[in-house]
Symmetry: C2
Subunit: 219 residues, 2 copies
DNA sequence: GCTTATGGTTTACGGCGTAAGCTTAGTTCA
DNA sequence: TGAACTAAGCTTACGCCGTAAACCATAAGC
């Protein structure tokens, strides 16, 4: 801490995690290695272990960071709107960090991710209970909602990856496709490029929320 | 091909792929390496490259194998039933091979997986069109259905992994949880152990199919 | 002024995917 | 029959990875 500022101030866990997130955002999760991460932070790989238990700990922390970007359903809104807004926020956060979906499912969950997930789950469950869903319906509704967010986002990420490649995979796909043999598939692929299909996530979400509403009112 | 049978017959692509699948089933996808796979087949790692382009090719082939286990929706059944049956079959296939979901989303899709996927997608799309859904609704319905299958199955796999560990993660979770602070979450976790919650997949599936039915009849 | 954390470094180990070249056995054809 | 060719597997080697273990420099506390 001398006046000239030549002395770099020491690393800390959150700086490591933030660097890891932006490296993964930029270059893809598969190119996140301890050595590269260290290099970015101007430090040798092994130095990172002073601030982080191991690589899984980093991945766990990254998931935790992403989850805190998700807006929780507010108690002040009608439940449908609140849940909808939160799901859309989750969708957006996961799209901002395309590696997060897969990480969430593959890394053994650790402290950091658990804390964030706890907050999120409890808030969503509380919204559903407040809305008057029975405990049973709440249980199921939670899983359906989360499945949609996760599943849809994963599909979407898979697609945009596929559309990036040098020669787009979609183009390859359609090219090699005997389109008279698979007419429905050919149409579907064509629809992918078209405008007016950018609200599919919300389409599915509303399908679910409306269904839940009906079940709730039905009994 | 002598009579004594001492000469092992040569490897081939499908034997490599099948060995890879069962290794991944037994020991987890993360412990599938060329060296281990070779060892299982009584061969050095590099020998595999005579039958397979590289590791990604193996992963692609594995995904292809899993996808062919999925029962396609039949044209002879009412569309709702046909789609339902196929989705359940997909769910079961993905549960049998817990690594398949993540692979499907992460490995750049290659020939083997593409062929299987083409069959599956076209069959499902054809079912929806035959049912009378508009092209637009078909497009959306496809994504919602697939999102549910993929997303729900991933959640389920994540959970059963979590419940396996030495000291179950769920137990840890609930133990460290200040359950007066997160009452709804505590209840939800409790519900997970209870019987009568083994049809959630179908609950969500029916929610979607019923919603689609209503939209179809509505216009 | 000696001790003791703290934070960063060096070296090393075993595992990974795979490129390049080698060996061996079987097949084809002169 | 023998020579050329081919198919299938093997050996070696390279550069990456995560991380254990030991080492070094600086700063703080007594």
């Amino acid at each position: 801490m001398n006046a000239t500022g030549e002395v770099r101030e020491p690393l800390n866990r959150t700086r490591v995690l933030r660097a890891a997130v932006s490296l993964a955002d930029d270059a893809g999760i598969e190119s996140l290695s301890m050595r590269k991460l260290g290099h970015i932070l101007g430090v040798e790989a092994m130095s990172l272990y002073r601030h982080v238990a191991n690589k899984d700990d980093i991945l766990d922390g990254m998931v935790g960071l992403v989850m805190t970007e998700i807006e929780l359903p507010a108690a002040t809104e009608p439940w449908g709107q609140a849940v909808r807004r939160s799901a859309i926020s989750a969708h957006e956060a996961l799209l901002r960090h395309p590696w997060a979906c897969s990480l969430m499912m593959m890394v053994p969950i650790g402290r950091a991710a658990r804390a964030a997930r706890t907050r999120y789950m409890d808030a969503l469950l509380a919204s559903l209970r407040r809305a008057g869903l029975t405990p049973d319906l709440t249980y199921r509704a939670y899983h359906v909602l989360d499945s949609h967010v996760l599943g849809f986002t994963l599909w979407q990420i898979g697609h945009q990856f596929a559309s990036e490649g040098d020669v787009s995979v979609a183009a390859n796909f359609v090219e090699e496709l005997p389109s008279d043999q698979y007419p429905d598939l050919a149409l579907h692929i064509e629809q992918h490029g078209q405008p007016g299909h950018d609200d599919e996530f919300e389409f599915g979400l509303d399908l679910v929320i409306d269904g839940l509403t009906r079940m709730m009112e039905g009994q």
